[in-house]
Symmetry: D2
Subunit: 311 residues, 4 copies
């Protein structure tokens, strides 16, 4: 019996020649491409911690949280100005106003900003403000958007589709890479499985971290907030992700002093907890840098294939 | 333990006031909104059968297949000019040229055309040719696209995301409806589960058909080609779908006289098999119309809520 | 990357030499082994319909329902004397008394009986009453039980484990066959997937029916009651299963005149609905027998390998 | 729409009054029942590490590995004398001879032994040798076996069924507890999901660890060997499991000096790697004991309900 549409990880070098490790021997067996976002180095010597609100709701809330995130020691600020919601009647984000607020938050704190873009026509607008563009889980297969963000000249945070195979996820990265942009950071954020909704929002799939690192040289981070959906699980899940080899964390933060969040409040942690996670990430860095001996790959030249595409 | 982001089918009237059956009592317990596409009636007295190639590859192939599909008795022609593929290096469809070919195929056969659009910036272009716009499984959560097709003035075929809950699927329909367009046909096309890839491409989820019919008044059809991925399963799956209450079928057809398909050939059936499926659908119609007594709902007025949105 | 424990359907001839079609060429490409249970022929000319209560609760309820099932035209009676329940504090079935009641029901109606056995030490006891022994979904991997029922001299109804691959399911059948018993009927009863519990109890996986028929010569039936968990879906799911090629149906029935069922009442249909399903199965038989031309395989000799095992 | 058979974690106090935390307030919000196995304390101050071969194959292999496991610093020895295999024609374990070998390994090394039992009729035999009885994933729903091991007077390692909900898993523990035995250690070993087989054997579901600890007072450990199926993932998965709150680890070990394992060799680690995992577990202990302040619960009296059952 032969089945249409089957691809396996053995097909990755052919499906994804630009982002596959096997097709890019200059990275060796363990080298990671360092993706630099306004000085923050994904895949470098230490894990990157990104914190911030689910959605940008107001100036006070976002700038206030940005300061708290900074004080907690995190490297970057997250926050959605455009929010993909199940219902069109729910709060859809604050849009352009939200982008302005993010811009202010960066000025005040110096933290680089990652924010989601959902519409290929908005990529330019969002890229003017953001240091890093996020493609969300629901848009991982949105090839028009992937091509557009690939041309935006900004690093990309590419979330895994909630039922995407590893091969499909790397295929999505390949769409970005094909536009000449290899500054891609992968983000596992939980997958849909039979337990989704029983005791956690999604199933945190940490096995995909070492698997992705074997099959691509791109850095991989984890979003423990969506992957669990339960604030009490975010701290242990963050530690677990780092032990599994994640190059960083993307975490939703809400301090009640800035009001109850309009979305996903049940998965937000406070900035004190974020601070403990940052400390863990810093200790981990010290240990892993002396242990692993994985060489930095900054300065590695992209493949001729990519150059050809870019030229 | 409380988990973020949980919605259940009990939330549907609130999440989807425009497409929920409970929120639109004028449809009663079993009434279906008839969606008319160039004279073809989805949700009417008889199941609709749509056949055609996976991708529009050439004039000869597509027009030839269109004639074969017409001879087989089908109601509409399908065919992709834009194809979402796992790898950006694979055949991406024939684009504008493909749209022209589809236009010719309609002129020659009189069959209305449904074709996929993936980019909100292309909706106008595609809508000039297509009688019905298809939103594919990978774009079900692409809210920018959903809003754009909702404004295009054409009926929409909305495929279920491969891991979308029923609530999320209806939420996607609500995004279209919110633009004033209730001419939406839902399409189950197989979901991702642990057996995906062992003996079929996806898991054909027929339980969702009666469930969707209880929760919305929109017509629901089935794509047995992607749901099985195995050509030998398409005919029995088509019959099964109709018995489960599907209002129609969307089927990939390839006659070898027109060459080996460039994509998904393993799930295509020949036009002779399509002819048998059409015959089954016609017999089924005769039986069900005398049995069920479900009233047609053409002429039912949309809810004030929708009118308000449209106005 | 190599992963432990991987088997695919290509391994089936090696994993399951006794029940694999490829390893038993005497069945050809489409022949089915007819399994005869007290005159009822699974895999023969017409689909078999089995109806009855979820659990044997009392003499009145079971014998009453048995008469109703008989009047509806069904071929066999189902009913559990031993019930696997999530909580040990729930009703566990009526045990030996239940077996006696089933025995009376058969005497009064002449319907052969299938009932579940869960403990290898009870196989003899249950086999004295039952015409066919059921191994439930939760025990599909219970190899001690499979071996014991394989030696009991009775045909076996082997339900698919709720997350069993096709290969594992046939492997379970092979455990029975290895004891010299090839009178095995497979039963698909729904699998666990992300939608389980949203709008149906399990995901009815009809794709597995044609797949199983390609890979084994054993008959395959469907349990639409557990696969849907919603009584209103049982009739359409029954018709769909037959159209997909199922050799029969196993259905839970409850007429309110005999009281509210102690378990799974929400998925039970009344005997009038059962009657309509039986009529559909009878019509289907007439059509399929003239169409398919699949030869009966009664009288086909088992493979030497099996004889060796039996001897 | 109402669906049969639905239980949620809110039902756990009712479904599982003996093992539910909410139904046993003497454990408080964070107390764990310490399960003592020949001096090894599950749920106590430090994580327990169990190592050993997948299957007991020979005296030399098992005793040799037992010494290596002891040298690596592990607390207990694992090894299967009875192996559940997909095919009945594969190696099924060495049976009684294997039990003897395990007995020798304990004598020589002093390590307590956990080994699987699959047949209720063999429980006595296995319990004479084993310090702890393992119920495997495939038998989690085997209620006859659960009751029998509950009466054996030995602590139980209860693996989660590969598609069991948390509620079903605790329900299985309740079957054991109902026999008067609360010495139960839960073991997460990976669940079946769409990625199973693409890059790992199962999906390691670490979210279930904190969830289980909220809902029951029983200790929970993780089997990273089956959960990944890839030896290179076992060490990071072990660390991740401990960070997520696991009370211990169950790991397959194979040193090539003792020959290639007959089963699941691809997921075995060598004893040097086991040694590193043990070191990590010891450091973790030091940190967590000063941080968490979770009180030991040894000496806590079982509930009256349980006493009633036992009496």
């Amino acid at each position: 019996m032969r089945i249409a549409g089957q691809v396996s990880i053995d097909d990755i070098p052919k499906v994804c020649p630009l982002v596959s490790r096997a097709a890019n021997p200059q990275y060796g067996e363990r080298g990671t491409r360092v993706v630099v976002v306004a000085g923050v180095r994904f895949g470098g010597e230490r894990p990157v911690v990104i914190g911030g609100p689910c959605a940008v709701e107001s100036h006070g809330q976002t700038v206030g949280l940005a300061h708290a995130v900074k004080r907690a020691g995190a490297d970057m600020l997250r926050g959605g100005a455009y929010k993909p919601r199940t219902s069109p009647h729910d709060f859809q984000g604050s849009g352009l106003e939200g982008l302005c607020i993010l811009s202010v938050a960066r000025q005040e704190t110096g933290l680089p900003i990652v924010t989601e873009v959902m519409d290929p026509r908005m990529v330019g607008e969002v890229a003017r403000v953001a240091d890093m563009l996020q493609v969300g889980s629901r848009n991982m297969h949105n090839y028009a958007l992937l091509a557009e963000v690939g041309r935006a000249g900004k690093p990309i945070l590419l979330k895994r589709g909630m039922s995407a195979s590893l091969c499909e996820w790397l295929g999505a990265a390949e769409y970005i890479a094909k536009q000449g942009n290899l500054d891609i950071v992968l983000c596992e954020r939980g997958i849909r499985g039979f337990p989704s909704g029983e005791y956690s929002r999604y199933v945190l799939d940490l096995n995909v971290i070492p698997a992705a690192k074997m099959l691509t040289f791109l850095p991989v981070v984890v979003d423990p907030s969506h992957a669990t959906g339960v604030s009490a699980m975010v701290e242990p899940a963050s530690r677990a992700a780092l032990e599994m080899g994640s190059h960083g964390l993307l975490i939703e933060v809400a301090d009640l002093v800035f009001g109850e969040p309009k979305c996903d409040g049940l998965q937000a942690i406070d900035s004190a907890t974020l601070g403990r996670i940052v400390s863990f990430a810093r200790e981990k860095q010290a240990v892993s840098s002396q242990e692993s001996g994985v060489r930095s790959t900054e300065g590695i030249q992209p493949t001729p294939a990519l150059n050809a595409t870019v030229a």
